[in-house]
Amino acid sequence: MSGRVAITGMGIISSIGTSVEESFNALIHNKPGITAIENIQTIHANAIKVGEIKKTNTEMEQELGLDADNNYSRTAMLGVLAAKQAVQNAGINNINEYNTGIISATSVGGMDMTEKFFYDYFDKEESRKYIDSHDAGDSTHKIAEQLGLKGMVTTISTACSSAANAIMLGARLIKAGKLDRVIVGGTDALSKFTINGFKTLMILSDTYNTPFDNNRKGLNLGEAAAFLVLESDEVVKKQNKKVLAYLSGYGNANDAYHQTASSENGEGAYLAMEKAFKVSGLKPQDIDYINAHGTATPNNDLSEGRALIRTFGTNVPHFSSTKPFTGHTLAAAAAIEAVFSVLALQHNKVFPNLNYKTKMEEFDLVPQTVLMEKEINHVLSNSFGFGGNCSTLLFSKS
């Protein structure tokens, strides 16, 4: 494989903002988006906090100018909003001018509608339009349709690492010359399904999540979508385009330890980071900031911390988890954190790991807890998911 993979556009919507600019402002002014849940009726409303986007489906339908008989799931609408921003940010006018693809990621797909209408489908004909929007690929098709994109369209679902893998595939297709340009990222809406799922695993915090803290109680779920535009060096040169950053490395490995839990020594995470370094030609000491997966579950932070120590030894770079800002946005997490990684490079900033108080008893790792200014040339971002799926992305300054 040859050639660099340039990031030329980004779009994002999460509980801390509906644009890249808003998100950046929230990150540098310590404004998290974790609140009580409003858009979903659940008996757990008083027992959980979430990173919820305070827009109703009706508001988003209006914003997107959708017909009354549309069958867009919330996941699809969030995805369209973020992908449109990314394409606009990249200054793309004719989406099919170059060989362009879209690779999205989602874990819930249209589950938000299925859980609403599951029993209505039997007797209420008007609800049945959502039957065809349940599958994960539907949200990607809708994004492609809204962008007018004809070509390679696919979707990845590897639980909470999904978007990292979508970004990785996009980069590989560009390097191999299969695509000139690709829109990559992920989208996931909050749903009763995931709230209750994580509840049964007893890993939802009843308060604000506290990554890498000894007394961490679990995660806050969130919802979000983010997309990046990746372009080949050649296309960038041809158009004399501004490059926001480069995607310089990527790696995926499987922990092969347990269906949901991460191994005690962080094997999969360690292997993913190792692969990413190999692809990029960078070394651990080149990394200036780590955007950790840091979900604030007892298991993740211990496993990830150990993997960081295995990879970086005693010189673990400044690191933070941004999940106290956004919550854990599942399949979109790696995409929004890719945007944050690019922002860290562009503005030379390490974003704070909010809510941290007490060092974990198992090791001496302490995250960066206040906003920090420093020269940042390379950022490493981790994302891990059920099924042992571990992914690492490396971003470098343009």
């Binding site: 049964t200 695993l201 007893m202 347990h258 269906q259 949901t260 839990a261």
Partner: protein, 85 residues
């Protein structure tokens, strides 16, 4: 107590889908996790829900389950002492 132990064995087999095991195969003091019956952390979560649903015992921290679920003996003792239904 004996009736409760028998009931627990049957429930564990059904809930955890232990197809090839009979209640008589489980001794009261056998370890349920690890080397014994080979249950894991997900099974523990299943058992926590069973305590809640069938015996009205709520555990908020999965770690509490470790001591309770050591064996049928320890489970039965804990349930007898704490059951609300």
């Amino acid at each position: 107590m004996e009736a409760l132990k028998q009931e627990l064995k049957e429930k564990i087999i059904t809930i955890l889908n232990l197809e090839d095991i009979q209640p008589a195969d489980i001794n009261d003091n056998d370890a349920l996790f690890g080397d014994g019956l080979g249950l894991d952390s997900i099974d523990a979560l299943e058992l926590i829900v069973m305590l809640d649903k069938d015996y009205g015992i709520k555990l908020s921290d999965p770690k509490e389950g470790r001591a309770i679920f050591q064996s049928i003996e320890t489970m039965a003792a804990y349930i007898t002492e704490n059951r609300t239904k």
